[in-house]
């Protein structure tokens, strides 16, 4: 099957962020083509390409677009560029290296769905990405690709660059909307707050990930058939994965979606080049900090949504983190749980209290003050956040952040219980109140 790069195709060109270079390499061709089509035709093309959302949940973008209630105006587009899931490193590169591709993707979405204003929300810490996108937008406005009467047509839309200010939870789409309204970034309850129906300012709102939008110009330019010729049955096109941790050649790789395996991307010479220093693989995280861990026996699974879901984890945001045989799994687990404890927004009690207690108990274990009962205590707290500790997780919370903290604990205890017990057995058994360790 033919495979070519879609979203990272200009990464070798250091000038790709400039409008002239973008135009010389096929930029805004898809926009011109789309403007000769009806919005419905553009929408149908994206639907036919069945491009899955690249933010984590993997919901088909074309279907999501169809959820806007008819006759309710205005509709908004909010671009989720709040990339913060540990291990994830793709959206920042797409924004920095090829910002016009994202802008063109936004325009195509707006045209197809009738979205009359676009807010491009970029994570606050990404100063360089903000600069590149601001410069690209300024050039695109000057050249008439964005704003009023785009390329002399009836199509008019403003793209507003918006900065975040440091909060992982804002990557959750309803929290993103709260934040964009100027509030604390706390998720909203669904229903009724499904953004496509009740989103920004209570209006129909499409929230799409940066990488999802980056696929659109190629799809419109080359057609859905060319797109679906790549990939597997339920995972079409290509996908970007960041492989980090204990590998010889950590990097960001665009691969054919659904056919490439974990072994290919972790061990392949053209990819991450295997576990470093000739060490053995102990475990790897297949899709960001929220995903349950995989092991040696999962290496030959293809990077394909349905297969990975069935195997008990997820591809999430395309973040593969490799841990070698020397990794202290209790510390790795604590690291991930600490992240969720720090980033809990505090709205739901099971998450706010639960992640905090999980972090404290793990700290206590690592500090040598663990108690034998701590193993059961960890599990009990996890149960209160995510009843049954199953995959996909159930939740007692509004959003999946709390249950995400359960993944590393369940994964590490299941496979590496002895490491926890070693810490506890070797502890000095003094009774130290939790939190003061």
């Amino acid at each position: 099957m033919p495979f070519e790069k879609i979203v990272t195709k200009r990464f070798d060109n250091v000038d790709a962020h400039n409008l002239d270079t973008y135009l010389e390499t096929g930029g805004y061709v898809a926009l011109r083509k789309a403007l000769d089509m009806t919005p419905e035709e553009v929408h149908n093309e994206v639907k036919a390409a069945s491009v899955l959302g690249r933010g984590g949940a993997g919901f088909p973008a074309g279907v999501k677009w169809g959820f806007c209630p008819p006759g309710v105006w205005p509709r908004y587009l909010v671009v989720n560029g709040d990339e913060s899931e540990p291990g994830t490193y793709k959206d920042r590169q797409l924004l920095e290296r090829d910002p016009h591709q994202i802008i063109e993707g936004c325009l195509l979405a707006c045209y197809a769905v009738g979205l009359t204003q676009c807010f491009l929300y970029i994570r606050g810490e990404m100063a360089h990405a903000q600069e590149r996108v601001a410069a690209a937008l300024n050039d695109a406005y000057d050249a008439g690709y964005v704003g009023k009467n785009i390329l002399g047509t009836d199509f008019s839309v403003d793209i507003v660059l918006h900065w975040g200010a440091g909060a992982y939870i804002v990557g959750e789409e309803t929290a993103l909307i709260e934040s964009l309204e100027g509030n604390r970034g706390m998720p909203r309850l669904k229903p009724p707050f499904f953004p496509a129906a009740v989103g920004l300012y209570g209006q129909p709102t499409i929230v799409n990930n940066v990488e999802t939008l980056a696929n659109l110009p190629w799809i419109i330019d080359r057609g859905a058939d060319a797109y679906t010729a790549m990939g597997a049955e339920n995972s079409k096109g290509t996908r970007v994965f960041a492989v980090s941790g204990h590998v010889n050649n950590p990097g960001v790789f665009e691969v054919e979606f659904g056919t490439t395996t974990f072994r290919d991307i972790i061990e392949g010479a053209d990819y991450a080049g295997g576990v470093r220093d000739g060490k053995k693989l102990k475990a790897f995280i297949p899709g960001g900090a929220s995903a349950p861990w995989f092991h040696e026996e999962h290496l030959d699974l293809p990077l394909e949504k349905v297969t990975i879901d069935k195997a008990g984890s997820m591809l999430g945001s395309g973040a593969i983190v490799v841990m070698d045989e020397d990794t202290d799994m209790v510390k790795a687990c604590h690291n991930l749980v600490r992240f969720f404890a720090r980033e809990s927004c505090g709205k739901c009690t099971p998450c706010r209290e639960g992640t905090t207690w999980l972090e404290r108990i793990l700290s206590r274990i690592i500090a040598g003050h663990g108690r034998p009962s701590d193993m059961a205590l960890l599990t009990e707290i996890c149960e209160n956040i995510s009843p049954g500790i199953a995959w996909p997780p159930k939740q007692t919370t509004i959003c999946p952040l709390g249950p995400s903290a359960v993944s590393p604990i369940a994964s590490s205890i299941e496979r590496f219980r002895n490491e926890f017990e070693d810490y506890i057995t070797l502890s000095d058994r003094r009774v130290i109140p939790v939190g003061s360790a």
Partner: protein, 204 residues
């Protein structure tokens, strides 16, 4: 000068004008206040409340939620060392320990010459671990020696990073006459390019 100065008030008006509802400009304006003073002063929050016609408590409520906003002076150079999982696996804890020793301060405190270090959550440079940011500018694959050299550069003024508060050096500017205009919630008009409905849908 903790209230916004005249030039920043003009920038604030431009930013507010890009949103259908003005409170949406709050986070960008808090960044503007921090850019001016290096932190978000109480008087600046009062001023933003006036500009957005909301209460100072609402401004504080939003400001206090987000990690990047500092409500007291924090020094000119903030070194944020990533301790996310990828950096953790490749020695972030050792790097933070080294940084504390080298600067003689604990995480979260500021040296007398205005440098601070802090362990922060994943900053999206996982393949470049361990990494850090100086005032949100990246430094990749940082060794202890690399950290020492960075501190030296900061101290002798040769580091090419703006002082804390200044984020993006390029601002968006929408030229007059080229803006499509805000999509106001009250309008309820379909977009100009939207085809007329062919017929009334049955049953509705």
């Amino acid at each position: 000068m903790p209230r916004l100065n005249d030039s920043n008030v003009r920038i604030a008006a431009e930013i507010i004008g890009r949103y259908p509802r003005s409170k949406s400009a709050l986070i960008p304006l808090l960044h503007l206040a921090q850019e001016q003073d290096g932190y978000v002063a109480d008087d600046a929050m009062q001023h933003l409340a006036e500009l957005l016609d909301i209460t100072p408590a609402e401004v504080l409520g939003t400001c206090s939620f987000y990690e990047m906003f500092k409500r007291e002076p924090v020094g000119d150079y903030r070194i944020n060392i990533c301790h996310g999982i990828a950096c953790h696996l490749l020695g972030a804890d050792d790097l933070i320990h080294h940084a504390e020793e080298a600067l003689g301060v604990r995480q979260g405190t500021v040296t007398s010459d205005g440098i601070s270090i802090e362990g922060v959550e994943c900053i999206a440079a996982c393949t470049e671990a361990p990494c850090l940011q100086v005032n949100y500018r990246y430094m990749n694959k940082v060794s202890n020696q690399g950290f020492d050299a960075l501190v030296e550069d900061i101290r002798d003024g040769s580091v090419a990073v703006p002082k804390h508060g200044m984020l993006a050096l390029t601002r968006q500017s929408i030229p007059e006459g080229k803006a499509a205009g805000n999509a106001m919630v009250e309008s309820n008009d379909p977009p100009a390019w939207w085809p007329e409905p062919a017929a009334v849908e049955g049953g509705n």
